[in-house]
């Protein structure tokens, strides 16, 4: 059995230059430790490997029940030069939410 990040958290993606940042915010603080253990930068890198060169850093924000993932070299050079449809990578949050994690129970 697995859960998706979607089941436990919400997310939003932002852009600065060629770097994407994606927040992952737990609905319930009790899942923060589980997300910290399972949603590692390595696991996120695996999900984004065909889109982003990285590196990927994860910043904890326990006060906000959240994490901030900062993914470099992720936006085709950045909004001003990118050939993508979604130049800002706004839809990246939905790829994050689709990542599967082992069942916490």
């Amino acid at each position: 059995m697995t859960v998706r990040v979607y089941d436990l958290a919400h997310a939003r993606a932002g852009d600065k230059g060629n770097t994407s940042n994606i927040s992952v915010i737990c609905y319930d603080a009790k899942h923060w430790d589980f997300i910290e253990r399972e949603l590692t930068p390595e696991r996120v890198a695996e999900a984004f490997k065909h889109l982003a060169k990285g590196p990927i850093r994860r910043h904890p924000l326990r006060n906000l029940k959240a994490f901030n993932f900062v993914i470099e070299n992720a936006l085709g050079g950045g909004v001003t030069v990118s050939l993508a449809q979604d130049i800002h990578g706004k839809s990246y949050s939905n790829l994050m939410l689709a990542i599967e994690l082992p069942d916490p129970k």
Binding site: H10, N18, S23, L51, H59, N63, G76, L83
Partner: protein
């Protein structure tokens, strides 16, 4: 000046394309003291610089006319002061346009305080050795194609503009949160040394700078994160007290939702290291911030921290970087994906046969792989839209992409439909450098009689 106990600062725009009516709702029944319009994306100033080079009267945000025409009567009636970076590449021209709008509306001679000095192109031009933040190369590498160079000014000079008493303050490039922090500094006499207050004000500015992002925009998800009456979602404001206490609220009677979840998403938005969000005013740390629901649609913000500002301004350098060409066409039914992929190969080959060269090229199957790339385990859709895009030095090569994709109607696999006209756009790229603050001469001039 009489000090108000609570100052209410409304967010009237979070981008030049932002919706307009919610700003009017704030002005009419939001009981606000300030209305802030943030209208500059990264490349907007470059684009407006090009507009100004063709007509010296232009170069401010083209949305200035419609926005001011809409809100000025209510703002003047209710004593609401307007702060905006809609001056873009020509704040003085923007001020003249704003004054004309006011006069045309019968509001008389309305003075405008103008913030100048963000345009540092003549300064950086002589410093080709400055390093580009993005790739470490010297500025020299893009100088020949430079269109604009603008420093992100801070709240201090905007505060100075407010001190003149002018009902409208117009600037070019100013950091987004600084536009909101400035009225707080002006009203309460905060200085950069009052770090806990500057931190609170900067956090509030960051929460407000994308308007509807804290009121349910860019948030909703049916059955999971429902947003009531999203079609009529309102814009937010901050209630600020002299001690730095902050509550975020929204226009009464509007749709949307404002709660800890919406505010959390916006608080982390576009922040990298949450202990060091660098603005011209401070280095903000949000790792201690507490957000609490105070009542319906009201969220209290506490415990933002900050360290003193750095001694440099971030400067965005805009430069011409070739062209992007695009084409699209659709395939449906049996083997839609196979036909779209075949079409892409044919287009690529025809472009190659004509000798066109691209710095970057991309093939998207919209409905399959255009947003998140190729992934395993993905079901094939019934229909798919082929999109091809390339960046190149040559306008002709850019145009050829859309031309050849459109030609799939007659010269490609069977059953292609709905191609778009070939699309070509100039690339206005942006890179950044850091410039010592003491090299920048930020200043305020007033257009009209105070």
């Amino acid at each position: 000046m009489e000090t108000k106990e609570t100052v209410r600062i409304g967010a009237g725009a979070g981008t030049s394309d932002d919706r307009m009516v919610p700003a009017l709702e704030l002005a009419e029944r939001g009981d606000i003291n300030y209305l802030v319009f943030e209208c500059l994306a990264e490349r907007t100033v470059s684009r407006e610089n090009l507009a100004r080079s063709k007509d010296p009267n232009l170069g401010y945000s083209p949305s200035l006319h419609a926005r001011l025409r809409m809100v000025l009567p209510a703002c003047m009636r209710n004593g609401i002061r307007i702060v905006s970076n809609m001056g873009a590449a020509n704040p003085l021209g923007g001020a003249r346009a704003a004054r004309k709008e006011a006069a045309d509306l019968g509001l008389g001679d309305v003075p405008v305080a103008v913030v100048l000095g963000d345009d540092v192109s003549s300064i950086v031009k002589h410093r080709p050795g400055l390093r580009l933040i993005e790739n470490g190369e010297p500025l020299e590498s893009i100088l020949p194609a430079m269109i604009s160079a603008n420093a992100y000014l801070g709240a201090d000079v905007v505060c100075e503009a407010l001190n003149t008493g002018a009902p409208i303050v117009l600037s070019g490039r100013v950091a987004d949160p600084s536009l909101f922090l400035a009225p707080m500094m002006h009203e309460f006499g905060w200085a950069y040394g009052d770090l806990p207050k500057i931190a609170q004000g900067t956090a509030a500015g960051h929460l407000l700078e994308c308007t509807a992002s804290v009121t349910g925009g860019c948030f909703g998800w049916p059955g999971k994160k429902d947003v009531p009456d999203l079609a009529r979602n309102g814009f937010p404001f901050a209630d600020v007290k002299a001690d730095g206490s902050i509550v975020i609220g929204k226009t009464p009677g509007t749709g949307g939702r404002l709660d800890v979840m919406t505010c959390t998403e916006q608080l982390i938005y576009e922040i990298h290291d949450p202990t060091a969000y660098i603005t011209p005013d401070c280095v903000l740390d949000i790792t201690g911030v507490a957000l609490t629901q105070e009542s319906a649609d009201r969220v209290r913000v506490e415990h933002a921290r900050a360290r003193p500002a750095t001694d440099t301004y971030k400067v965005n350098v805009g430069y011409a970087d070739g062209y992007i060409g695009e084409g699209e066409v659709s395939y449906g039914g049996i083997d839609a994906i196979e036909r779209a992929k075949w079409a892409a190969e044919i287009v690529k080959e025809r472009l190659k046969l004509q000798g066109f060269v691209y710095d970057d090229f991309r093939v998207d199957l919209i409905g399959m792989s255009s947003l998140h790339g190729e992934l395993d385990k993905r079901p094939e859709p019934y229909e798919v839209r082929l999109r091809m895009a390339g960046r190149t030095r040559e306008r002709k090569a850019a145009h050829a992409i859309g031309f050849e994709v459109r030609a799939m109607h007659m010269h490609g696999p069977g059953g292609a439909g709905g191609a778009i006209e070939p699309r070509v756009r100039d690339v206005l790229a942006v890179k950044s450098v850091l410039l010592p603050k003491n090299m920048v001469n930020a200043q305020v001039v007033v257009e009209g009689k105070l």
